[in-house]
Subunit: 316 residues, 2 copies
Amino acid sequence: MTLDNILEEIKNAENILILTHESPDGDAIGSSLAMNLALKQIGKNPDVIIRDFPRTFMFLPGSKDVKEEASKDNYDLIIALDCADLKRLVGKEYVEKTNKVINIDHHGSNVMYGDINFINPVAPACCEILVGMLEYFDISINIEIGTCILAGIITDTGGFKYSSVTAETFEFTAELLRKGVNVSDIYTKVLETRTKGNFELLRRSMDRLELLEDGKVAFTYITKKDEEEVNAEPGDHEGIVENGRSIEGVKVSIFIRQKDEENSYKVSMRSNGSVNVSDICYIFGGGGHPNAAGALVQGNVNEVKEKLLKEVRKVI
Amino acid sequence: MTLDNILEEIKNAENILILTHESPDGDAIGSSLAMNLALKQIGKNPDVIIRDFPRTFMFLPGSKDVKEEASKDNYDLIIALDCADLKRLVGKEYVEKTNKVINIDHHGSNVMYGDINFINPVAPACCEILVGMLEYFDISINIEIGTCILAGIITDTGGFKYSSVTAETFEFTAELLRKGVNVSDIYTKVLETRTKGNFELLRRSMDRLELLEDGKVAFTYITKKDEEEVNAEPGDHEGIVENGRSIEGVKVSIFIRQKDEENSYKVSMRSNGSVNVSDICYIFGGGGHPNAAGALVQGNVNEVKEKLLKEVRKVI
């Protein structure tokens, strides 16, 4: 069984490198930190590399252990978490130098780049995969590990909201609450505390939000200039695309954000149910989940908008 | 024990009138509909009066049974739910005509106006009180009753977010999910679907939002003219005050909404933790919970704002 193979590799390794995807969100960070604490608990020597760590998640146990670069030349094992593709793996330069890669993820689009791949596309979060995995490994989910895991689950379920949420999600949360974990505090820190930059970006994005195609599509954007003017930090654009999705009648919410290069926009799409936005983003070289996906598209605001709408119109 | 007394009164009654508070929210509606279905299950003949029923909650089982006026002249028993004060009870005119009133609520400010009062200020929602009560009465919480109860819990915990949420809340939700209740669907309908009117009011309120007192106070407002211009429906102002509370550093969020009378504003206040906004609203003749309260204050926007800020400044 894959879980036994993973456990064997972990047992045989001493120095383990934990990696996750670029633009890390709560599930990427939560699963990396939880794995880090779990490996320490069983006497291993792990390193975690995460770049552009959002301030929002600094409260998580073990976040101070995170590095931008590895501290060693060689590792016995790499564990990649919540990352569907090697291209998006931060620290992928260490993959060539390391014999074994374990790839643990919940993206259906995962390309199986590991020597061992443990992919559960039904899990609402990579962190939820870790719950069962750590239990199977007999590693106790203490308050610290539980806090990291819950942060990931809350992030990727939109606060217990998405249809991916399971009875196990709620049971696990009840258990953590009984152990003394302040669920409400984690929830608020992860999802409900807007930095001033985030608030200002949201305010601008709402001002510009257009309802198109008979109200079935919400579209808005943020430029580099906006981000500079409000002193935006990494992660300050979070929540903007979900805001569009929440409007009655909207089937697809599109939010585009200018990248460092003038004529390039990072696209985020969300759908309510029927439309598969992962398929649409795939056309532009991106991907994700059926209800939440992204891509990088060239052009100015209007060009990118028209390119996307052309594809969206075909499926709504 | 009070629960036994309540059960005895219900057993002795045939025609039962279910009432709740004005401007009904998900907990008021969810608990009323759940009680209605539960009483029918045990062969009683209940009526539910709710006025200004928001369209958001029309999906709840039994919502079509709701009346604006009672169908009978006399009832054997009134059950008032989620209502702290007779003044706010819609249908209070029937109280005088009825021998017994059972008052079931979770507001600490409840003034105990019932012949039997069952108040649990620690419960996150009136609906959560019903879970234990119906179990004690041996009334099965089927999918329909469970859906109504969950709608109330999701409303009053802000989607499992507030610190009032308990391990029991999560366990109950897990149980409903296992029974086949679509938790995500209820969540989305209750909290995540913004009517266009709600979106437009939110957009205006965000545009006007001011951060005062070194960013510790968020203030915004909506006028009658706004509501007319966006064709606002009952409930379309929901979420505006929470939006202000979510900004980093904000201790008190104030949202005021013009009433039908020109110079009168309905005040909603939310606090993050330490400040007791119920105490502040009490000064103006209102009340509520320590972290969520309301009042009615006379004046124009600036006058009301200054009256409130004067009191808020004393405690932040």
